[in-house]
Symmetry: C2
Subunit: 193 residues, 2 copies
Amino acid sequence: MARSDERAGRMWRVNTLGFAILGLLARRPLSGYRVAQLMREPIGFFWNAGHAQIHGTLRKLVEAGWAEYRTEPGPGPHDKKLYSATAAGRAALAEWAASPLPTPQPHDELLLRVYNGWLADPAAMREMLTAELERREASLAHYLTVRAEFEADGTPEDPTTQRFVDYATVLNGIGSERYVLDWLRWLIGTLRD
Amino acid sequence: MARSDERAGRMWRVNTLGFAILGLLARRPLSGYRVAQLMREPIGFFWNAGHAQIHGTLRKLVEAGWAEYRTEPGPGPHDKKLYSATAAGRAALAEWAASPLPTPQPHDELLLRVYNGWLADPAAMREMLTAELERREASLAHYLTVRAEFEADGTPEDPTTQRFVDYATVLNGIGSERYVLDWLRWLIGTLRD
DNA sequence: CCGCTCATGTAAAACGTTACATGATTCA
DNA sequence: TGAATCATGTAACGTTTTACATGAGCGG
């Protein structure tokens, strides 16, 4: 699958961003602007895209028959478009979610900096790593708050609910920040003079 | 900085891939082919690129005066080129390594799958996650072997050596795989019927 | 002789970022 | 009245992937 409109001459092979957006539309109807906001805030930890890319991908999802929209008079020169996932879109998304993962192709600039850090001034390195430590401490604190809010209403247990998968991604965030923080503290410790 | 050849009309703003490659050349002279191999094997955990991209970036690094090469007769229709970093290239790399990190823009497909997993068949989801678990168990085992080899020769302690930064990236890999494995085991557990 | 490794390159297409462009409403 | 938020779009540029193209040397 991951293909749409078998009969048409030009087919768009739906990419990961397409599924990221479709995943938001499968939850509730959204304007392109709202999609861009959600790409920053709750989704931002594991995926992101700018509004220019989002508008284009929404258009392609509609062409593919996986999303549709209704127009509303909006502020500004253009009409507001409220997008939602079609039944075909939901089915494709469900199949994609459980399909085999491609081998990941990581791009982690922090590790690349450390790998070349033997050449750098240790004091400057310590400063950069301390800034990163603080950024991630704030990030962890945020995830812990969100987790507490979830658990106050009862720990989610049913993996076929939105609430559960949201909770699962927050737990991942906590684990991820915790291990990096430990590693950063150790690294900064080795840079003491 | 991160700019080169101030006088020329067109300047190439060196990108992260440029620094990734320069970091390899700063350690030892390499052919483009070898760079591509190293981008898979030791660097692959935190950065990667295909050979088409690498050859182009090497050319730009030379134009920028940050790398140079000497030609050797190679197999096949083209000469072999042995690239190395220039003094200017090393200086730029050292400065870049400790400069402030841009805010990361993550692209984690595993989390995106889980986020949409509430729509998917739990059994299919369990299968996908189990495959990922096995892939990462193998990866952890590999990092543990590498760490043992490092520590057999004495734990690296000087952060201005290549040996130390290599060791640091391996420790990061171990921590990273361990937390994901814990999280995956918990997640798969919630999908038992 | 077949396939693998070594070795470099080009071209086209797809993907992603940044800048430009417009304009109503709401809040200070 | 000025800034922020809501709202959509295009154009240019830069990055990344995929496919095409070539060919020597080595091991089975």
